[in-house]
Structures are given as C-alpha cells and as structure tokens.
Amino acid sequence: MTNKQKEFLKLYEPVHADFERFCRARVFGDMDFRDLMNETLMKAFEKFDTLRSKEAFLHFLFGISVRVLANNHRKKKAVVGTFEAISPKLEDTNANTESKTEVHFLHKALAELPEVQREAIILFEITGFSIKEIAVLQESSETSVKQRLRRGRLKLRAILTFNSSDGQSEPNTGGKTL
C-alpha cells in the first residue's frame, strides 16, 4: 500500500458510516450503493492531491458523488426517460433483512422525490450537512435549498401517509401512528 493510499484511507475511515448512509439513501431503488461508493472513492483518490483541507474530506467525497450521480442520470435520461417515470417500477436492490423496516420505507419514499429535493433532504437530515454546505454542493442559493427541504418534507409526509393509509405497506414507527 502506498503512502497516498494509506493517507486516503486514514481520512476515509471516520467518515465511512456517514458516506455509506448517504450513498444508500441516495441511490435506493436505482443502483447498488456500493457501486456509487467505489466510483466516488476512485475519483476522490485520483483527485486527492487537490484536497486543500483534511477536515473537508467528507464534503469532498459528497461533492464527487453528487457529480457522479448527476452524470449518470444525464446519461440515463437519454435512454430510459426521467427517473420519476421509472421509479415506481424499481425494486430495492439494497434490501437487507437487518435493515430496519421504517428506514427501508423512508428510503423508498425518498426515491420518489425529485433528484435535487432527495439529495438536499438526505444531506440535511441524514448526513447532517448545513444549508450553506448543501448550497455549495448543489451549486445553488441557500433559499433554493430551504425551498427544496420544505417541499421535500411535505412530499415525504404525503407519500408516507398515503402508503400507510393504503394498507399495502405498514412502516413500523415504533408504536406511533403515521
């Protein structure tokens, strides 16, 4: 293992869990999150020399994965149409019996949101990024990010409520009624 690889992995180890959660939530029902993780890590390793601050490593990784996904979706759109049109037909490729049921349904609901809303909510609610950081990652204003978060939350509530009232799937919310 080279010094560069050692240094890279040293920085990656503490942020692995956050990065994995982000990738899993972000590509739920779309692709294997491990593929996104590997692709992002490879690109990050290639551009590791350009990393200015070690504290910004997670931000660096998310920035790359956001661009990777954007590129993938741009290619996909030309072939199969919009993600919204195909998302209901997709199966969960990351299904894990150990995963909690409510998180599974949350991810499923998130997959039905538009790309930018989904990304903003995952970064803000799951990964814990600030609105300012998300604005930088998404190359948009803070107001736009706030709007995305608000609308995304409203949609999520609607999706999860509809699913629970439909009776097709009953997410376990720890005894609480959805």
């Binding site: 690889q5 692995h16 939530a25 490879m42 995963s99 509530r157 919310t173």
Partner: protein, 298 residues
Amino acid sequence: MSLTNNELDHLFQEAREEQPIADYQETTRAFLAATIAISGGVLATKSLVGLFKLKTFLAISGVVVATTTAVVLNQSSPEGGNETTATPVAMEEEADEQRDEIVRHRMVGDTVRQAVDTSLQLIIEELEVVIPIAAEEPEIVPAKEPKGLIFIREPSKDEKKSIKQHALAIIPKCKSQSSSKSECQNNWRSDEYSEAEEEYYASEKDLSYPNLGKKELKKPYKTLRQELIKDRLIDEDRCCWQMSIKKQKIRVNNDRLPDVFYEKYARLLDDLLDVDVYDNDSYWNWTSCHCQENDCEG
C-alpha cells in the same frame, strides 16, 4: 391520518443511527483492488504504447514475417519433418527427388508452388523496404570547408580605432587654427604631434608599410606617389598619373592594383587621406600632373 413533522424527524433519526451495511473493511478491499487494477491497466497501456513505437513495431513485424516465411516454407516442403534425421546419402536422394518433383511440377504447370514463391518474394521485397527504414540513422555530414575564397586581412579593431582617434584629434585643430577653408585644406595636418602618435607610427612592424613620419603625413600625396614609384606601379618619368577607388577596388592608371599591394595601399590611403577603401560606398579619384606644358602624355 397524516404523518407529523415529529414522526418524520423520528424516521430521519432512525436513518442516522442505522449501522452501515457495507462495512469499512469490505469497502477498503474493493477500493484497493480497484486502485491496483487501474494502476496495472495504466502500466499495461504504457508498456503497450512503448511496445508499438515505430522501431519496435517494425522489428516485431519483421520477426513475425520471418516466422511466417519459415512456417510457409516448412509446410510447402513435402517431407519437412524427416529432413533432420536423414543421412547424407538419403539427403542427396531426397534432394534429387525434390528436384525431379519441381521439374515435374513445372512441366505440368503446377501453379501452387509458383504462387508460394511469388508470395515469398513479395514478403522478401517488403522486408527489403521496411528494414532500412527501421535502421535509419541520421547521417553525419562533414562540414564543408570554404574553397576558392581569398581572405583579405582587415585592420584590427584597435588599429582602426587608433587611426580614427588620430584623425579626429587633428581635424579640429585644423578648423580652429585655420582662418580659411583653403588654408585648412593645404595645412590639414598640424605640425604639433603628440608623443603617443609618434610612438604609434614608429611601432608599425610591417616592413613593407612605409614609416609615416611627420614629413610624410604632412605631404600625403607626395608620400603616396613615392610609394607607387617604389612599388613600380607608376613610371617615374611619366608626368601624369591617376588613382581611383570604387567599390573597394583600387585602380592605378585604370589598371587594377595587384592583390599583394591592396592591403598596403588601402591602409596608406586611410592613414594619409582618411579614405576608407573597405567601405563599399566610398569613392575617391585623384589625378596628378606635375609636368611642363605639352609634356603630358594623354
């Protein structure tokens, strides 16, 4: 019943606390394998690119062609495999048989061997074309020495500088001391010479060059005439003679000055009359007649 904000926050909380499915070790292994594969791929590409550089490529293609030729030859021979174990007598017999067979083939007009021969010839021709290109080396061309050139010695920089300084030192004196232009022209050389100037003229080592003293410099035309007579360039008895300079050429009585005297007179004219012979644009003409009336020839 709709989902409340608190319930949604609770769901996000669950998602945040969830343990990762893909553990760190697994991800690290995948990452390291990918980096090794990529670096291996880069190395392989580099080596392939290096392999297919022109010279190497041509060498490899030469080897491939040679191998193909050998294979074709071996296949075209009817008993190729038994040749190594045959005795000399058997080999002779075999050679005779082959010769007979070739004759038979030629006689019956078998074109297969001819086609093989033609293809081999083509391959050999191709090799003859390719190999010299592969072995191409830059030719070392020796620098050509100049021939038929005459190198004329020019006065060195120091000499030119000294002559110029000398002239510049004298001419102003003339201007200041002389009342009229004609007087200045007649006495353009001052009688006052510095010791340095005397030393300069005395230090001339060229024996053929006259020792230009105070007297000679004062009467430049006379000095020039004396030198011309001494070098037998003009006849002393002849009362009129002419000297000119045009396009770096010195002529005496319309005859070109011999090369052996060129440098001497160029320097002399420069010293005595401040005429730069080496300047392509300089033009100077002098006609001298010191004879009696009707005594002059031409």
